[in-house]
């Protein structure tokens, strides 16, 4: 790639009648990075990805995928992409082996290469023993692994993954994340659409947040978090917490909001340094111990809330309004 971009969207636009589902979106995904694409439901994520993988024709603008124009050179662009959709689209009537071989044939992979690659992928993803089993008998995690194998059979340069760990058990989720990291280490560019902020935070080199069909921000997760440094919090867990103690937490000086996160309380504040001693004093006054006490910077979820103006926590006890 001359400009170092594996994906370059230029004024990518999609109208549905009067509705701008995607409104002149421009961004670049560097070659070899894991790029997170975040946004609330209906923000334009799926439409953008559908255009990038040539499933939908843009109303205006275009994009280059691995240097190939998705409108003028869709055939070459498709040769270089692998797609792992959120909803399984394996052929459930066929075995894992038949699914992989069919995909290899469809991608034009020569026979010996596709058979060797199919075996390699099935072994790597722990499906070799089940190669002759129909996909209809697979669990959700196994189908997801098969989907990943099918997306990789032709060694694509750019891989699109839509909610790759959604609905998976912990073990399968860890395995899928490890596979994504390995793919990226091997040189593939990964375009990851996810609702899971922590996943994006852990995995992505950069993220873009799309809202109302427009890109609200694009940067590294850490840079985005620092950009809203004002949203900090103190995370505290007491050995025994009464309702009264919880009420008093909300009254501490400098505390903007109290949120109960499992067995912990998260106190949102502009000045964590001033809040910490008050929490210690409060624990003493209630004659209870502190299990843990930490100051926490803004999370990617906080960034998401600020950028999209949507507070998903509204309605919870002590919930706050949007920070935007």
């Amino acid at each position: 790639m001359e400009n170092g971009f594996a994906i370059e969207a230029v004024n990518l636009t999609k109208y549905y009648g009067q509705v701008h589902a995607v409104d002149h979106v421009s961004f670049g995904v560097k070659k070899g990075e894991i790029f997170g694409f975040l946004g609330p439901n209906g923000a334009g994520k799926t439409t953008t990805v559908s255009m990038l993988i040539t499933l939908l024709t843009p109303s205006e603008g275009t994009a280059l995928v691995n240097g190939h124009d998705i409108i003028k050179d869709a055939y070459r662009a498709r040769q270089d992409i692998g797609v792992v959709p959120e909803m399984s689209n394996v052929y459930v009537e066929l075995s894992a082996w038949a699914n992989l071989i069919f995909t290899g044939e469809l991608q034009g992979v020569p026979r010996r290469r596709r058979e060797a690659r199919a075996r390699e992928l099935l072994e790597e993803l722990g499906l070799w023993e089940k190669r002759d089993t129909r996909a209809s008998e697979f669990s959700m995690g196994m189908r997801k692994r098969l989907l990943i194998a099918m997306a990789l059979v032709h060694d694509p340069a750019v891989i699109f993954l839509d909610e790759p760990t959604s609905g998976l058990d912990v073990q399968s989720g860890i395995l899928v994340r490890a596979i994504i990291r390995r793919l990226n280490r091997d040189g593939a560019t990964v375009f990851l659409t996810t609702h899971q902020m922590e996943e994006a935070n852990q995995m992505c080199d950069r993220v873009a947040i799309i809202n109302h069909g427009r890109i609200a921000c694009v940067d590294a997760p850490e840079n985005l978090r620092q950009a809203i440094e004002s949203v900090q919090s103190v995370l505290v867990s007491f050995a025994g917490a009464s309702d009264e103690l919880e009420r008093e937490l909300a009254g501490l000086q400098g505390v903007l909001e109290v949120r109960k996160d499992g067995d912990k309380f998260r106190l949102f504040t502009d000045s964590p340094g001033a809040v910490v001693p008050q929490v210690v004093d409060l624990a003493r006054a209630h004659n209870t111990g502190l299990v843990s006490l930490n100051t926490v910077g803004p999370s990617l979820e906080d960034v998401f809330i600020k950028v999209t103006g949507i507070d998903v926590r509204v309605g919870e006890k002590g919930g706050r309004n949007a920070v935007a």
Partner: protein, 240 residues
Amino acid sequence: MARAWVIARKDMRIYYLKPPVLIFGVLMPVFLFLAFMIRRNLDASALIPGVMAMTIFFSSSTVTSAAIPWERAQRTYDRLLTAPVSLVAVLWGKALAGILFGVVVSIVPLLVGVLAFGMPVSQAWLLVIALVVSACAFASLGVLLASVSTPSVGNIMMLGNMIRLPLIFVSGIFIPLAELPSWGRPIAFISPLTYCNDLLNHSIAGTAYLPPAVDVVVLIALWAAFLLVGTRVHALSKKR
């Protein structure tokens, strides 16, 4: 063409034994055949061409028109559309599966006619042409039917039968073209089945209403037209 064949082979493995394909592609022609022959004292040469025409009409168009919405519902259609394969090749692959199914299924009544009733075949080479061009035209009709953007196989089958059943009744199968009233003949010429039935009459009984070249040309033209319009409509739904 190679990728179209890959898609066709996959469709043969998956869709040939699906209930809607068996019901509308195999059972429907059998029922029509029974309705056609019971209490009618027809010889095999008069009976079999019509039965074969109905069989190839239903079976070829059913496989194609069922497989596409099925793939839409399973989201596997997206897999085909994001592969380095042209839309024409995808749809031609779907049509190929319908063509082969139609030809194979329509050979069954032919074998019954030849082996059980000693029916002679006047021109075998013309019979082969008739089966192939008819199957191509009808499978392409299936592509056109499936261009209605729905993931529901039932909706497409309903639409298909709404179109196919009237086309059978005006096609000259039940009343030969020569016996139709003068106002009925132009209506018969609207039905693609008319040309298939006429061509099969030529190849089996040796006589028919239209010259065989006319039947062949019309069927080839319909094949191209159905595929072209079907591809256009499928491409339009991608732009939406």
